[in-house]
Amino acid sequence: MNIVVCAKLIPDPAAPQSFDASKNLERSGKLILDEADTYGVEMALQLVDAAGGGEVTVVSMASAADVAGLRNALAMGATRAVVVSDDRLRGSDALTTAKVLAAVIKRQSFDLVLAATESSDGYTGTTPVQLAQLLDLPSITFAKSVTVEGREAVVARQSDQGFDDVRVPLPALITVTAGVVEPRYASFKGIMSAKSKPLEVLTVEDLSLDSDVGAAGAGQEIIAIDAVESRSSGEKYVDDGDGAEKIVAFLESIKVL
């Protein structure tokens, strides 16, 4: 069982975010592995274990040179990582990202591709399905559990009412929601061995792409970023045993009671 996991490097979401001069999210600082993708890595490790063996390859696209965050996935137990790291990718839209990831993934054989339902910084939530279409793969999005039975994946997929059981023949692409598995912490041994695991860094030239990448290839543009008038806060009280009364009075004033 060989699994490819898409994993994105993002600016630390806990740090203040801003836009750069060309209206893209500022990514020049330190980049970390998107927590949303640690679920995919964990799921892949568990599925390979359950299948009795196989490889987990992490693929990524980044416009910055700092790709060290991928070592975290290797420290968790992934076999290798391949990252397309190229300044020219700056400003790429999700479709271009999917084209780049597809070109990387096509270089190897696999049974399953995993991704997160959405990234923590871009959260377009479309890259994985675009990738599936480019690779001519069936896909199941919003998986809250995944198992493999023979040559089929069995997935519980979130729905408006609850969830659906969905089956798909392999190879396929599946996106996993947060909380689907508990990502393991890298052990000391894992961290040490990650240092010698293969982390291949590619540029745009190394891939045969037949369309423009980066902002030039994007079919969309940001025309403005405007501040929104902030919602003002009302009254704030410290509860002295009278908090509930204050709420009741407020509910009466807005005629909910």
Binding site: T141, F163, D164, I225, I247
Partner: protein
């Protein structure tokens, strides 16, 4: 150039199309002269409903059997566009199947998707508005190059308004070529039990977060919601922790709610949570940390312990009954 033709993905829902689909039909009608809905499924008289909201044509993809919608619906839309001409843009509700259709169609048309859209205006071409950084900024974007736009819009961005049009003309959509990608099959559907109104429709939403301490604390949220005739919601932290099902999640990756009253108990007010509830008319927050960001948008803030304030509130409301 003004917009002439907009298509809307009309996601089937019980007897008709989903409420978010109708919101998009209403907005499309204001922006373009010619509005068509693309829908699928069997049994419902969707032509009458979408016609009432202003669509003139209903492209019917028909019965998908047990297939997931994304692949066959995108294939049908691509086939429709090549036989009848592509629209200026297709508006798609941000839902599970909606996002699948958008991604599949994006590759077929070789066009990008604008997602997380909460506003659409015509400025000699379609301009979309996207809240970022928890809604403190709005990004305005548009498509460049040739070809139709694909726009994925968050629910509750527009108001659905019936204008009393006659039934839309039903046109069978040609089945597109699905290839190997169409092989995912739904084998069973599970409905999670719910009492009270649906989260998205409730006039009152009471949500709890990690500040409840443990999963049993959520009973206070359910009790309060019931007393106020509302629905119980949650932050992602406690959905991920497994305290409550995902269907309760409010926020960027969960539901968007716009109730008359939103009560946030033990919720810090992360940007991704606030983007799903900022549109509430009145917000009450209970949090023991006076610096919690949720207080910045609360009309009434109570700095206190949920385990003291909520039981007292529940008792006070019970006493009034």
């Amino acid at each position: 150039m003004a917009l002439s033709t907009l298509w809307v993905l009309g996601e089937p829902s019980e007897a008709s199309v989903s409420a978010p689909s109708l919101e998009l039909v209403s907005r499309a009608r204001e922006l373009a002269s010619d509005v068509a809905v693309v829908s699928w499924g069997v049994g419902a008289d969707r032509a009458a409903v979408v016609g009432q909201y202003g669509a003139t044509t209903l492209y019917d993809v028909g019965d998908l059997g047990d297939a997931l919608a994304g692949v066959p619906v995108a294939a049908a839309i691509a086939a429709l566009a090549s036989t009848r001409g592509a629209p200026d843009a297709i508006l798609i509700p941000a839902s599970y199947d909606g996002r699948d259709v958008a991604g599949r169609l994006s590759v077929r048309w070789d066009r990008p998707v604008l997602t997380n859209v909460t506003g659409l205006v015509d400025e000699g071409g379609l301009v979309s508005e996207h809240p970022v950084f928890g809604g403190s900024l709005t990004v305005r974007a548009r498509f460049s190059g040739d070809g139709p736009g694909i726009v994925v819009v968050r629910p509750k961005s527009f108001v659905a308004e019936a204008v009393g049009g006659g039934p839309a003309q039903v046109v069978a959509a040609p089945a597109g070529d699905v290839g190997a990608a169409g092989s995912a099959r739904v084998t069973a559907s599970h409905v999670e039990a719910r009492s009270g109104p649906a989260l998205e429709e409730a006039a009152v939403v009471v949500s709890g977060g990690r500040g409840l301490g443990e999963s049993s604390g959520y009973a206070l949220i359910e009790q309060l919601a019931e007393l106020l005739g509302g629905a119980a919601g949650a932050s992602r932290a406690i959905v991920d922790a497994g305290w409550v099902p995902y269907s309760h999640q409010v926020g960027q990756t969960g539901k968007t709610v716009k109730p008359t009253l939103y009560v946030a108990a033990g919720i810090s007010g992360a940007t991704q949570h606030m983007v799903g509830m900022k549109g509430a008319k009145n917000i009450v927050a209970i949090n023991k940390d006076p610096e919690a960001p949720i207080f910045q948008i609360a009309d009434l803030g109570i700095v206190g312990d949920v385990h003291k304030v909520l039981p007292a509130l529940i008792a006070a409301l019970q006493a009034r009954k």
